[in-house]
């Protein structure tokens, strides 16, 4: 049973068909000027239009990348470098994805300063703290839309408004939200937005970065050579993957309302079935949360054993762990969880194919695993 859709989704069969056409029939290099090359360009332009329609932006403001990690790197490092002569201070949150935190750390080694704001216990950013953290030399704020571990949704409109007032660029890691929540970049005060295909039933290996066409908003490239995509991200465009992303975006656009209703019903069903377990807590805001993610911790259950006891169910642990390192999730620790509670965290992430029967089975497996492990344990001493 697969309940790890926040990590990756299966490719929609309709998307596979679109990609097959390009892989088998229209396989020319889009940089070639012959007819076959021009057909590929048309496919790419069509896909760019599909993603632009989902995002409410202009097609020319989109750059294709290899995924959200590259988009985050290009946005943050690229914008920081572009605006370095104005200032070298960046702001992000301690609960961001590694694709953001690690590039920030790399920039610190290059002489940039980074402020990492902590969320409240529900995972939300304190807007007053953000406003207070912005300095005269602040150039960029990077805050994710939906947190990949907890599903907490940040108010990107309010955050972006604060950034606009202070003439600071605002980057959003929207890997978990594009195609799942309405996003209208024609209205939202967002300057840079990262996304990826494989969270919305598109292929792995393709992403995009939105760069707003406004003064002061630009990125320096990370790669050089070829001149494609206005030299901002050169390299032969992965036409089949781009076409797949475009089609997945179009499908997500059309099914977003139904998807949200479906996920909400399943998430609530799941929580109703396990919330009676003694010592269970839901991590992150219950109100400002994406319904496709339910993150729970439970008292007096060891996380790694819980994860193994749940096999073959595919879920994510709250620990950035493998058998070698059992470091508790830095995201959950930032929400104030103890190491033990953070280690016991399980992220159930639901998707379009998830059924009520699967949710019932998952809840039953979880209850039984918790009860089994608790029955094994000696009582805690005072």
């Amino acid at each position: 049973m697969y309940l790890d859709y926040a990590a990756s989704t299966p490719v929609d069969p309709r998307v596979v068909e679109t990609m097959k056409t390009l892989m088998l029939d229209d396989y020319a290099n889009p940089s070639s000027t012959h007819a076959a090359g021009r057909r590929i360009v048309a496919h790419i332009e069509h896909a760019t239009g599909q993603l632009a329609a989902l995002l409410g932006c202009r097609a020319r403001d989109l750059i294709w990348t290899s995924g959200a990690t590259e988009s985050d790197n290009l946005a943050i490092a690229g914008a920081a470098q572009y605006r370095a002569d104005r200032g070298r201070h960046l702001i992000t949150m301690s609960t961001e994805h590694k694709a953001v935190t690690d590039v920030c750390s790399a920039l610190e080694k290059q002489g940039f300063e980074v402020s990492r704001l902590h969320p409240d216990r529900s995972g939300l950013l304190d807007l007053a703290a953000l406003a207070a953290a912005i300095r005269d030399d602040t150039q960029l704020v990077s805050i994710m839309h939906i947190n990949n571990e907890t599903g907490v949704i940040q108010d990107i409109e309010a955050i972006g408004s604060i950034c606009r007032e202070r003439d600071v660029l605002f980057h959003v890691d929207a890997a978990q939200s594009v195609g799942k929540l309405p996003i209208d970049l024609g209205v939202l005060p967002v300057d840079l937005l990262s996304t990826t295909a494989h969270k919305i039933y598109g292929p792995q290996g393709i992403g995009a970065l939105y760069i707003a066409d406004r003064p002061g908003c630009h990125v320096e490239p990370l790669l050089y050579g070829g001149g494609q995509q206005r030299s901002l991200r050169p390299g032969t465009l992965a036409a089949a993957l781009i076409a797949g992303f475009g089609h997945a975006a179009e499908i997500a656009h059309g099914s977003m309302h139904d998807d949200l209703q479906h996920l909400s019903a399943l998430r609530d069903r799941m929580w109703a079935k396990i919330s009676e377990l003694p010592g269970i807590v839901r991590n992150g805001s219950a109100e400002a949360s994406f319904p496709g993610i339910l993150n729970v911790s439970i008292d007096d259950v060891e996380g790694e054993s819980l994860l193994l006891a749940l096999e073959p169910m595919c879920v994510a642990t709250g620990s950035a762990c493998n058998a070698k390192t059992q470091e508790p999730s830095y995201v959950l620790r930032a929400l104030g969880l103890s190491d033990e509670m953070a280690q016991s965290a399980i992220r159930f992430s639901l998707g379009r194919p998830t059924t009520a029967a699967e949710v019932d089975l998952a809840a039953d497996l979880y209850r039984r695993a918790v009860e089994r492990l608790r029955a094994l344990a000696p009582r805690r001493t005072a």
């Binding site: 193994l308 058998a323 094994l376 000696p378 001493t381």
Partner: protein, 126 residues
């Protein structure tokens, strides 16, 4: 390089923790350390370990190692408990070296159980 964190042996033991439980009228030992908790019980007859049971809170490797110990030591002389060493369990399951500390907690618990068992035997003989 394998990214499989558990050997087949660890998986088998974890799936069938048959020695988990309690024993009445038995020698006991308990150690809480390194973020894990282990409680052991042993019943003996004629200087031989007749039954071993455990309760444990910890990772799959610790649970598997404790189950493995209980299975392996039933039927052996009680004095063997004092010879139990973490190194053998680490090698046979195997357990990643990063988890040595947890297996040393098991070793402490087994040695403590051995001392308790031998003390009871001496009391009976005295």
């Amino acid at each position: 390089m394998s990214n499989e964190p558990y050997s087949d042996r660890v998986r088998e033991l974890f799936a069938d923790l048959a020695r988990a439980g309690d024993l009445a009228d038995a020698a006991h030992a308990r150690v809480d350390d390194q973020g894990v908790r282990i409680s052991l019980a042993a019943s003996c007859g004629d200087g031989v370990l007749e039954a071993l049971r455990f309760r444990a809170w910890g990772c799959p490797h610790l649970l598997a190692a404790t189950e493995s110990f209980c299975r392996d030591y039933e039927g052996r002389p009680c004095s063997d408990l004092l010879d139990f060493g973490a190194a053998e369990v680490m090698a046979t399951l195997p357990v990643p070296t990063e988890k040595l500390g947890r297996i040393l907690v098991l070793e402490d618990a087994v040695h403590s159980l051995g001392q308790s068992v031998l003390r009871d035997l001496n009391d009976d003989n005295g």
